[in-house]
Assembly symmetry: C2
Homo-oligomer: 598 residues x 2
């Protein structure tokens, strides 16, 4: 049994069921997936209903989605270090490893259910407070309209939830791709099976998601691979004033996401929103649907995720998909996401990102897509393209840096979530009880004033006119209070929400580094057991150093952006707050001036 | 069984029982009175506990006292009109009536339990909303400290509750008086029994209070009395610009209530607070205990209550009687009460009031007290001293005026209570959840800032110093928000609370007028039945006109004071509100200036 929270009108031909707010329905199949459940109404009609629109018996919060563990683009078999070097390991596995074909990588995202930090918590949780375990925002009445700032949950509601997880619409173009037929086979070459795994990743992932125990492959792919990538993919790391830094372009790429347009296909049965993306370099707009952003996100995650936290895209909420407010909000967040990607020197200059923002025509786009999906330098192999222009670091230093970043990102995650929790509560108060109270104060003054007017006593209007004006002023203040959060708190929330998403990627990124450090530490043991050569051990240490430079460069990029972002949002917030209080003071001053001095 | 809400420490030798907050005790005798109950603790000890300190089983609110119906100084027998004129009426009753000896009067206060308006509700409730029947503030957690603004109740928590109702301390001086012996008898003269009733009124009232059905005596005492009071007690009513007005003195009396001092007696067993009252006329301070104020209140109520609403004194709360905060609050309210009395030309010039503020010594005070208690021109007889200098009004006009004031005071009572309810809620929010939220916002900013400080990234302090300052600013704002109600809302609440008390007296005052009008309307019938003469009928009409002039003079006094009071309190409130918002804006402007432009 479930309670319907919001009206939902079925789209014709989609096997959906129209329901009304307050209606009680019976859930007949909860495992439909994609954000839908099958339900039966009191008239016996059965159909699909968005699960966000209903509240099942005593479940407290419906806005917070339980994150589905995401595996990124994963390998079909577990290539753990000792397995790979064990005598029993298959020749195929060894071949894959040593030829550095890494069409499939794990981003560790599924290691521990909902808590991406837990994998390395034991090492780093130290004395820091862990608000992971406490969620003061537990209760929420199901009756209110969808909240732009749902309470902070233990997991990552924003974390990537796999393509097609919520909306079957997103699948269709992949089906189109399959129908081009034979492509993967025809160009698969020697790396065969795994290559196919790569190119058909999106349809594979869904089924792989169903193996909860699926474990990660380690950084040894990179640490021990024989040859490194050369040529135009090279990613130099320089020593800047703050330490290791990426190579920054002279002018920063910028993109404007604008002009959302509703399109449709399949004779109007399916509709979608198309956004115009205009890069500052060409100033020529290209069109992209949400699923194209999603495709880009996946490519970036696959290619750079081991070295660079790739924040997830804004939620693919079913709720109000075509409502103006929602489209505006999604566009604002897609803009935020694009801006962040543009600001990153490695991402913005990557071939796949450039394709996304500057493709010339449909053919160009399709060609580029195929090429990007065939990219072999993904996962930990991205480190093979990195070239620090500095002496190698010893392992102790590498480890210290890693620990430091791990502690920092964990603490910042706590701090950001505290702000989101407090901000969410403040938002609720400012848009709910507080303006209601000011309104009641305003009404009470006006009511008393109108009683006074009825006295028949002469000279009454000197008081009553002013008192009525004062009452109206408090009604205006109510309005100001209710509208203010959209002007200031909104930006604080958006920025912190973005950072929550970014910080949620660090456990994976840092996890790759920790795993690499562990492998290097085992070096002597492995040499003694003749599992690796002395040269392999030296190579591993050198590559761990390269990984550390990459991590430091990324952290320095993160810090510099963070300082800029928080500086900006705090200033914006305080500016708007000052204006807010000044406006109220001025309104009250005017109200006061209407009273006559006696 | 009862739950102890606050710690209470027994005073030695007073048969009291010390109890701790949270303790469960068994009530062994609830009918102790005087605000005490007898209780037994878990160790079997029995003693007296203040009933305000405990909460019995599921009683929701302990702060709001159920008002004990007050009878003022009442007659021992019911002198209703027809009884008085019925053949069976005793000679004694007739004698009292016709000789205008009115040592005892009813002020109608006990006619209908808790609702003083209900007696005339049917006539005037018309289309106006009656918030008498709805109390949105029903629930209150018993755990919070005593609230200066308990929710508005249906009755009058502030209404006079009879002397000695809460504290046996108040009785002792009356005992002293009794011990002077024989006085009442010796000076009683011809009006005998009823006179004694008057002079011993205070001890009588307590037992009379126990007769819930005790009914009022009507205004016929005045309407039909044979001779009117002459001489210095004469109260002229003039025609002013606004209509009938009292005779106002050239300079208005003013009194300062100050310098509360703790005194004690009975070898320190009993202690009390003495206030210094300094009138502007003599500028010579006199000392008064609360019970002296109470005595004055009773005299004024007895003498003027039929014509002039006499607001009750501030509550005689047991809770925190010797706490500084409470003493300050009571003094502020006694000051407010005295100021209102001083402002009233009839009251301030009365002999009893002048005695209170200007008595020379103990003997003077005692003599004056006895004289005041013997005053026969009390109750409706006060109208016999009033002399309107204007032509008589016809009954229709008298009735219209009465209805108009009745409607107005009822509507204003609703409006005032709405402000009190809304203000009380606002007070709770401003001193509770709101500052807590600002504090949490401040802490969240500071916490994130201290995480940032730990980054080790250079140039961090440009952000973190400013962010910490912003966080501290929000903590300061929390403080400002929590303190603000005492600076502004407090005055709005005090003024409206005073008016609630005043308005609560009008049903009685207006009830006397309505009863008089009814009697005059019956004039022809009574003449026809030979119960009164034609001359009596003419006299009654003329006296009803006098009463109407008195009511109009009083309403004009009320209106003029009301306009002044609300003008002043609204200005004060808005002034403080402007300062409040300006202070916050300025603090935020400073916080903003600490951020560096990037």
């Amino acid at each position: 049994m479930a309670q319907v929270l919001y009206d939902f009108t079925a789209e014709p031909g989609n096997n959906e069921l129209s329901v009304k707010e307050g209606e009680t329905i019976t859930i007949t199949n909860q495992s439909i997936g994609g954000g839908w459940v099958e339900a039966q109404n009191s008239r016996g009609e059965v159909g699909l209903v968005p699960e966000d629109y209903i509240e099942v018996s005593y479940i407290v919060s419906v806005d917070v989605k339980t994150p589905t563990p995401s595996l990124g683009n994963v390998a079909a078999s577990d290539l753990s270090f000792f397995d790979a070097y064990a005598p029993a390991s298959t020749p195929a596995q060894n071949q894959v490893m040593h030829s550095c074909n890494a069409g499939s990588v794990s981003l560790l995202q599924a290691t521990n259910g909902n808590d991406p930090w837990s994998a390395w918590n034991a090492d780093s949780s130290g004395g820091s407070t862990n608000n992971w375990a406490s969620n003061p925002e537990g209760t929420q009445t199901g009756k209110s309209a969808p909240d732009p700032w749902p309470p902070v949950s233990h997991g990552h509601p924003q974390a990537y939830q796999g393509p097609g997880a919520e909306d079957d619409e997103w699948d269709d173009e992949w089906d189109d791709m399959k129908s081009t037929g034979g492509y993967a086979e025809s160009e698969a070459g020697e790396s065969g099976a795994l290559q196919r795994g790569g190119s058909h990743a999106t349809s594979m992932k869904i089924s792989l998601n169903k193996f909860p125990g699926f474990s990660k492959s380690g950084p040894e792919l990179y640490l021990l691979c024989k040859q490194l990538v050369k040529g135009k993919d090279r990613l130099p790391i320089y020593m800047g004033e703050v330490g290791p830094v990426w190579s920054y372009p002279e002018t920063q790429l910028d993109c404007v996401v604008a002009d959302p347009k509703k399109g449709s296909k399949m004779y109007g049965l399916k509709s979608y929103i198309e956004y115009q993306v205009t890069p500052s370099t060409t100033n020529r707009p290209v069109n992209h649907r949400y699923k194209h952003f999603d495709w880009l996100y996946e490519r970036l995650l696959e290619k750079f995720g081991s070295a660079i936290p790739i924040p997830s895209l804004p939620d693919k909420q079913v709720t109000g998909r075509f409502e103006e407010e929602f489209i505006k909000m999604r566009m604002e967040r897609l803009q935020g996401w694009m801006t962040r990607m543009c600001r990153h020197p490695v991402i913005s200059s990557s071939e796949v990102f450039q394709l996304f923002v500057t493709y010339k025509d449909e053919k160009d786009w399709k060609m580029g897509k195929r090429k990007a999906e065939k990219d072999e330098t993904v996962g930990v192999m991205v480190f093979s393209t990195m070239e620090p222009e500095a002496p190698d670091l010893d392992l102790i230093e590498v480890e210290q840096k890693c620990e430091q970043f791990s502690r920092f990102t964990k603490s910042m995650d706590d701090g950001v979530k505290e702000i989101l929790t407090v901000g969410h509560e403040h938002w609720k108060r400012c848009t709910g009880p507080l303006p209601k109270e000011y309104q009641r104060i305003g009404k009470a003054f006006q009511n008393l004033s109108s009683v006074f007017t009825s006295s028949g006593y002469q000279g009454e209007s000197a008081l009553t006119d002013a008192m009525t004006a004062a009452g109206k002023t408090y009604e205006e203040i109510a309005q100001l209070v209710a509208e203010q959060p959209r002007k200031d708190l909104h930006h604080v929330m958006e920025t912190n929400n973005e950072y929550k998403g970014l910080l949620g990627c660090f456990p994976d990124t840092i996890g790759v580094h920790k795993a690499a450090i562990d492998k290097v530490k085992e070096g002597d043991k492995l040499v003694a057991a003749s599992k690796i050569t002395q040269q392999d051990k030296v190579t591993m240490a050198k590559r761990a150093s390269t990984m550390s430079y990459a991590l430091q460069a990324e952290m320095n990029h993160f810090h510099s952006n963070r300082i800029y972002d928080y500086n900006r949002v705090m200033q914006l917030y305080l500016e708007e707050q000052v204006k807010f209080y000044e406006t109220i003071a001025e309104k009250l001053r005017q109200a006061h001036s209407q009273f006559t001095t006696m």
